[in-house]
Amino acid sequence: MKADAQALKGHLDVLLLATLTAGPRHGYAIKEALRDGSNGRFDLPTGTVYPALHRLDRAGLITGSWSVVDGRRRRTYQLTAAGRRKLAGERAGWHEFARAVTALLEPDPWPTTR
């Protein structure tokens, strides 16, 4: 099932940062990592991933660099130190949030009887 843009609102930045944890990637590989890592749920139009990458680059959270591969100019993106810090902070916040939501939504265990 594909997620609509609304479902990703507010989370796209950190998800894009997370796709770069393993190392530098090309834009298309980032898009694929986002789709595959979410079991196909976050399958965004490729063209809409680039504006977010462009903004993260300008914000200093990732850095893009051009190289020439097989005669073709390729742009790869990688996390900066600020991006790693941001990702670590967002991860911690997310885990805390998820624990709180799970605690509220999960049904209480049946009381034990003797």
Binding site: Y28, P45, Y50
Partner: protein, 190 residues
């Protein structure tokens, strides 16, 4: 260099509306998507059509770039904080009886007209999907700084005494001047 006329046409459409730096990134991504579909065994025409379909309509991509642009985000931030400044300065002017200050009426009218104009410009930028319009955020930011400076100068020159609302409004405006000035290069950049 685009590898197929369909790709070239798509990139040209983006090139008409977006900065060159952004178009270079998108062209690289679109070509990579095209290559991906070629590797899957599609013909060149089918691969080009599939790449464009996967990339999304040009207006969608342009709207996404506009939404993420520094200019639009600047406009949204300035508009979001505007009610606070309106409340602070409104209270300051009323409690300090600003209508008794020795300020030429023409200057007060010019201030009001400029304020309305810049507010309109910021609303246009925040609501627009047109990247050309987001460039208004740079000059609008500069005008916001000048309006804050004008207000501070008026208070320093004409206010008879310091009031509590003024003691809040002045540092708030100084902070906005500093933050807006720091963000100005990004807001002005294409």
């Amino acid at each position: 260099m685009a590898d197929h006329p369909l790709i070239a046409g798509y990139i040209a459409t983006l090139g008409d509306r977006l900065p060159a730096e952004a178009v270079d990134e998108l062209a690289d991504g679109l070509n990579e998507t095209f290559q991906h579909h070629l590797r899957r065994g599609l013909t060149r025409s089918d691969a080009a059509a599939a790449a464009i379909a996967e990339f999304g309509r040009p207006d969608l991509v342009i709207a996404a770039f506009t939404r993420h642009s520094a200019g639009r985000r600047t406009a949204v931030r300035l508009l979001a904080t505007a009610p606070v400044f309106a409340a602070l300065w409104g209270t300051t002017l009323i409690t300090a009886h600003a209508w008794t200050w020795p300020i030429p009426p023409g200057a007060a009218v010019a201030f009001g007209v400029t304020l309305l104009t810049v507010a309109t410009a910021l609303v246009v930028v925040a609501a627009s999907n047109n990247p050309e319009r987001t460039r208004l955020a740079g000059p609008a930011s500069l005008v916001v700084i000048l309006l804050d400076l004008a207000m501070l100068t008026a208070v320093a020159a004409a206010a008879p005494a310091l009031t509590w609302p003024m003691a809040l409004a002045v540092p708030a405006s100084l902070a906005r001047i500093a933050l807006t000035a720091r963000n100005l290069p990004r807001a002005i950049a294409p």
